[in-house]
Symmetry: C2
Subunit: 395 residues, 2 copies
């Protein structure tokens, strides 16, 4: 493996991914020289210097990188870097990401990844080019899992890659939906690609590695430490054309992914749920707080947000078509004036409808022709139930 | 009864409420002269002239009004007009209401009512001054009824009058919730106050008449004709400080009430529901189409919209308080680096957290004091489940 790639691995090991100072160093001096400067303590950032010093006490970065490269190859995985054709360029937008109220370090350290480990046969850039993230609670309800599975299926069925985090609940449901559609799905992990977490999803990860991709910005063997999930979430938001949140409790990690998508100006979509469900509190709060978070109820709405203009547009919600739909205003008034039971003469109907008799007679005749009213000896009446014309079949 | 009041009754009988031409005539000439001009055919609007002529063929307006006045008194009801102190002035805002895409007559004829019939002991203006409309589907699900009852209860409990249409489903649930709280509720009917519709809600209407108000702009004896429900809905929207939609199918009458509230620039609130429910399609469509339609999940959000500034404000959604919440960033990193099982020494924890050893030791000592980490012979470990400090009780 060449020096640049090894340096990127070493840098990823030396400082947790997302560090802005390291990303800037790499941009300024290239990975190899950036690594050299960091190891020499040749950086202004005091905190970064002490972090690196603590890490260096645990091992030699070049040696760690060399071992990681070997392990990667042995696993049948590969390293993808910005130097490669398959690098998903859109994660570079993280360079400009700034989160509102970013007080915690994980909310400040949101620089692009330096490299990505990949398991699976697809070209990474191609797989992510037309992709949607579906994220949500690990403790999803049956409703959330049902909706996530449906969205995963529907997106994959329309040729979109479904990206998620491989967790229990919504993540797993979205991945499964995509797999069931025979589509492509990508799990972005917060640990090494050799030990996808949680182990309870091992069978699912095996299917994903076969039909899609497992990716991670951490070295093989890396633990799924808790802060890493949040660090990872920025990649889910940045790698995709849009993010859909299915179920989230207040203050959950999934809402953080959506906030990152919002900060990136990517389509940020939220599926509502029952207000009686604690698992939808985070979803509803996002919809209330962020005018640009878009309420979606299913795949057609999602495609409307991420799809190409003019294609994949959602039809407006409508009830079943009825013959009355095409009536003019005055006919509607006459029809609405007919009694539920019994019949009424044209004069009374005209008065009820607020129309003159001549107009009313003309409309009555048309309504009779359409089968919407019946003329009887004692006047006009509504047809018996079951004898009304079928929806969509006027006349 | 004086001439002006009788003229208002006669006008209401002569032309369906909401007619803009009639409302303008009354504004210009007063009710008595407006009635005289209409009866004499002394109006420019051809359609109005023929409507009036058809009505006049069915009876004499002054006589009809006199009879209605007698019936009103016999019922123990009363007529309230703009000349009365208890007239709810806010319905006058309907004068400026214009609906987008108003093609049907019911969407154009949205002028203020000329008078209102009232059954019940409360002062009408006072009852409606601090009121919220809660509307929704007649075919509400158990979820919708549960939510509407809760909102009705919560609003009434906070001293707000709950206004609705007395229909099955959401309307009835909202009324019942308010009654159960021992609060005030108002049913705005689309027929005479002597025969509230639907008859299946008769017991409910009796309770409302006793503890709240039944009101209508139609003469006693008037039928609940279908167009009247839409005409009535504008009064529900205009009489209240805001409207909440709980459940609505696509293209339902309840969505029309909310559209009227939106057009009046009143707080227009929508409760979301499961996207798998046909009964929430209309609600979600409104939230998608109207940026000023506000998603609400319960009474605190509703009060935030309609309440006086500074009072009745909703707290942000939060999970239960945890001792970790008040930790600084570096302590969080150390805490998150502790292994799920077993213990780790300070050097390893420092490296995992990306901190220098001295900082890590300081944070470890504090975390130990807070009971969030335990110091053992083999290093620092998470406390056993059940031995962690209780939420909200740091230290």
């Amino acid at each position: 493996m060449d020096e640049i790639r090894l340096a990127r691995i070493a840098l990823t090991w030396l400082v947790e991914p997302g560090n802005r100072a390291v990303f800037r160093l790499v941009g300024q001096f290239g990975p190899v020289d950036a690594l050299r400067r960091l190891c020499a303590g040749d950086v202004t950032d005091q905190r970064l210097r002490t972090t690196v010093a603590a890490r260096l006490a645990a091992g030699d970065p070049w040696q760690v990188a060399g071992t990681a490269a070997e392990v990667t190859e042995r696993l049948g995985a590969r390293l993808v870097t910005p130097e490669d054709n398959e690098w998903p360029a859109q994660v570079g937008h993280l360079e400009r990401l700034t989160l509102a109220h970013a007080e915690r370090r994980v909310d400040q350290e949101t620089a692009p990844p330096l490299c990505l480990w990949v398991r699976g046969g697809w070209d990474l850039g191609e797989a992510l080019e037309r992709s949607v993230a579906v994220v949500g609670s690990r403790a999803a309800t049956a409703y959330g899992q049902h909706v996530a599975t449906g969205i995963g299926y529907g997106l994959a069925d329309r040729g979109w890659t479904v990206v998620s985090g491989g967790a229990f609940g919504v993540d797993a449901a979205a991945h499964r939906g995509a797999l069931n559609a025979g589509g492509r799905t990508v799990a972005v992990l917060a640990c090494g690609v050799d030990r996808p977490y949680p182990v309870g999803n091992t069978a699912l990860f095996d299917r994903i590695a076969e039909a899609g991709l497992l990716i991670s910005e951490w070295l093989p063997g890396a633990d799924p430490l808790r802060p890493r999930f949040l660090i990872r979430n920025r990649v889910i938001a940045a790698a995709t054309a849009g993010t859909v949140l299915v179920e989230a409790a207040a203050r959950s990690g999934a809402t953080q992914t959506l906030r990152r998508a919002l900060a990136l100006n990517r389509p940020s979509m939220v599926v509502p749920g029952p207000v009686t469900s604690a698992m939808s509190v985070g979803a509803h709060e996002l919809l209330r707080e962020h005018p640009s978070a878009r309420l979606v109820t299913g795949v057609p709405h999602i495609l409307e947000e991420v799809g190409r203009i003019g294609a994949d547009l959602a039809p407006p919600a409508r009830g079943p078509a009825r013959p009355e739909d095409d009536l003019d205003d005055e006919s509607v008034l006459v029809l609405e004036s007919a009694p539920r039971r019994g019949a009424l003469g044209p004069e009374v109907l005209a008065a009820r409808a607020g129309l003159d008799l001549r107009t009313a007679l003309r409309k009555l005749s048309m309504l009779e022709q359409l089968g919407l009213l019946v003329r009887r000896d004692d006047g006009y009446a509504l047809p018996e139930p079951g004898r009304r014309p079928a929806p969509g079949v006027p006349g």
